[in-house]
Symmetry: C2
């Protein structure tokens, strides 16, 4: 199945998240059954990222957005662990610092965009400023409502400079979130992460869905598409995200550069003894 | 074998690199034979780094230095791929930019030091300014010769703030370097990396060894030790580096924090239905 086609938010369309099944897993029976396919995409990711890094002409920016416990960290881990840490970076955007708040909302984002040859993953992103900020009235509507256009323009700047931008919304159901919170409580390695605030945020579920729907509808553009990924099944989420990133990189078609020097001349000059030996002359 | 003890540059001692066998591999027969041990250290690394990240009180800075083709990239890949990309970063320090050169030599380094909970790996580091800079006379001796003390003081600042600093010199032989260059020429995926400059640098081999010896001797301190890692065998290099990092993290003894909230109260309030079900009351 072509998940890029299936899960893209068609530019200009209106997203209705209630119509999208968070538990979707295509025709895959189970995690085990999907494993070979998942691994095949990891291998492809590794190869394509190496070529992007070697080429040093284009870059890839992956934005991840989701509610708590929807799997942002797990997705980062899955995607990045397939790649060479040298050419990849993850940026987690948390509550802005005083210095960051003293600038426009894209200032801290811009600093973190990938250089040519790099892959950057944003764990939360510029979209927080039309999501949590909107839901909790952190700035007036007159401010946040202008940000959709500002974000589209900003992403256009990146794309025009050779950065491919793909954005994933990891879509889980309300029940699944509660189940995952419960798992965290029961796991001593993770229960320190739990706060009462996690549960309080759940009372804003409908507001968040509405804010997401507007962000997804308004900011899925031809140059920087949004994908809504069914994420109740972690393995299916990893499969779908990996496949879409692989297709994106394949379309970018990064090429290993040609050598900049005359390899034969170098061999003769510096490896003369060995070359002679191989030729059977010694 | 305790490689930290075996390979440390004892503070105050003089290093003689000609006396250190770059081809050393302890009593291990082969890569295959050492594999289980290497994998065991990777698992430990993963666990310890997770605890460091959760604790958010201390950080770890790993500096890698070596001549070309000695395996800096491979070491970064081995160590970081064992960890969660979220709490780890790699910084490659290349030729300084105009902005960086307009500041003191530690300015760009300081910006990249790890925050509490993080692991940072420097691929090249502050030491470039007493290595390549010294060998190629990029600044006068009156300038670079003062930098050893400045580096020691700087590292003391980091250590006093809760950062553990470990520094690895990956030690390969001149022959092994030539062999690896040759491999690169013969590998179409990597021959674009080859430049004539790589070979020209080899004529400075003795100067580099001398510069390294002084840096290792002068800047291996109790608070920030240097280790000389025999690196002709890539797998042995990975084994030794991983073991030393594991021991370092074990000594730091990071602890998963206690929950900040009353887990039972949260369970009752938000998971009442499920809890009742588990108790057999429903």
């Amino acid at each position: 199945m072509d998940y890029a086609k299936q899960f893209i938010v068609t530019p200009g369309s209106k997203v209705d998240l209630t119509k999208i099944d968070a538990g979707y897993k295509d025709s895959h029976e189970s995690h085990e059954a999907a494993m070979p396919e998942i691994e095949a995409y990891r291998d492809k990711l590794r190869d394509l990222q190496f070529r992007l890094y070697a080429e040093t002409k284009q870059s890839l920016l992956i934005c991840l957005q989701a509610l708590d416990a929807a799997g942002k960290d797990g997705t980062v881990n899955h995607v990045l662990s397939a790649m060479n840490p040298q050419g990849c970076r993850v940026y987690g955007f948390k509550q802005p610092s005083a210095e960051e708040l003293a600038h426009d909302f894209l200032w801290r984002i811009h600093k973190a965009t990938p250089a040519k040859g790099e892959v950057a993953i944003f764990n939360r992103s510029q979209y927080e400023d039309v999501l949590v900020v909107r839901v909790h009235d952190l700035v007036p509507k007159s401010v946040w409502s202008k940000r959709y256009d500002l974000i589209n323009d900003f992403e256009r700047l990146l794309v025009d400079n050779g950065t491919r931008v793909v954005k994933f919304f990891l879509h889980i159901s309300e029940d699944e979130q509660l189940r995952r919170f419960k798992q965290r409580i029961d796991d001593p390695a993770r229960n320190w992460k739990i706060s009462d605030a996690d549960y309080k945020e759940r009372s804003y579920w409908a507001d968040y869905q509405k804010a997401y729907q507007e962000a997804l509808s308004t900011c899925s553009t031809k140059h920087a598409p949004w994908y809504v990924i069914p994420a109740n099944h972690k393995w299916f989420r990893n499969l779908a995200v990996s496949q879409i990133i692989v297709k994106t990189l394949e379309a970018m078609d990064p090429k290993i550069p040609a050598p900049t020097v005359d390899l034969d001349a170098i061999k003769k000059q510096y490896h003369a003894a060995e070359v002679a030996e191989e030729d059977g002359k010694v």
